[in-house]
Assembly symmetry: C2
Homo-oligomer: 223 residues x 2
Amino acid sequence: MTQALIFDVFGTCVDWRSSVARAVAQALPGVDALAFADAWRGEYQPAMERIRAGGRGYVALDDLHLENLHRVAERFGVTAPDTLNAAWERLDPWPDVVPGLTALRQRHILAPCSNGSIVLMTRLARHARLPWDCILGAEIARDYKPKPEVYLASCAALRLHPSAVMMVAAHNDDLVAARAVGLRTAFVTRATEHGPGQTTDLTPADDWDIVAPDFIALAQRLT
Amino acid sequence: MTQALIFDVFGTCVDWRSSVARAVAQALPGVDALAFADAWRGEYQPAMERIRAGGRGYVALDDLHLENLHRVAERFGVTAPDTLNAAWERLDPWPDVVPGLTALRQRHILAPCSNGSIVLMTRLARHARLPWDCILGAEIARDYKPKPEVYLASCAALRLHPSAVMMVAAHNDDLVAARAVGLRTAFVTRATEHGPGQTTDLTPADDWDIVAPDFIALAQRLT
């Protein structure tokens, strides 16, 4: 019996690309805002990889985002204000997310299992009105997904066996890692996370426990 | 400027004594339920003290509560079911708590800074409808209040200087410890936490930043 659902957030719950581009357009007029957002997000995996590989101790994603902001700004030939980093706290949810989570919360504990820090997830939840019961994920484990420790630390914080926890994500690799340590899995399609030309994660890459077009359908499948 | 409020929970937000006694009366008919609740709570500080002093590694309060339950049951000459331990997840809030927190949440990040574990605070919040933004406290620090680490780890998770965080408690010793590491302090009177004959924490023992009769008054003071 699934008692808790834990969620990927960037891309799965919120539309980071449009929201970051909106903030970039406001802070850096004249810059190609979508290209800047893509480039900023492009620095995300390399920055975490050094930590995952052990070459750097745990540093919160807030700090990585800020380092990456200035690296990308330099590449674009502009100087970005530090305050632009708060763009990641003001990402809009996909339209099905709040009603879907609200329905799911009737019977399940809900928490993000994101690479975002506790405070980043907290401020984002306030902005996007995501009705989490608690905040789990990278900071609890002091490591980054898809390292198994992050999923296992989230289950441990809930004092639940991994088989009682379902990972929900729009990214197949997140679910591969969650299933490998015993969690149940739900794939939700986000076909425009990377814009209209997206080529990745358009379909489930394995027989995930649930495949749903959005969170409302996910809630229907779980009740 | 206070950006976040962190709360003691047992006694400050919820009436543990009546709620635990209610669960005891149901599970152990014939036992003096209020005396049992007091005895169970009486084992709370000694159990944590061994961990605070370093004689035992961090063990979640859920486990301490279970050990204490069986110790107290033996003293009362009964056998308690393990399921009675969930009484601590079903404590009722004082009547001002939900409206007060709802008002405070408009302008402040709200989180428990309790000795309860993440999942205990999560399940309790679902029961009592406490609108937390995230769960902080002992498990984040892997130590127990009033050790300074617990307050400081909670501020660190919020990425806030302690002076931007206010500790709210009905217990003077909790506020002494929070102030000692730089947090702001609010004392809320809970004159019947220990029943009608309560003799402790009836009045503020220092010049706390705010002294309020309940959470609704606290919200008014902060706006």
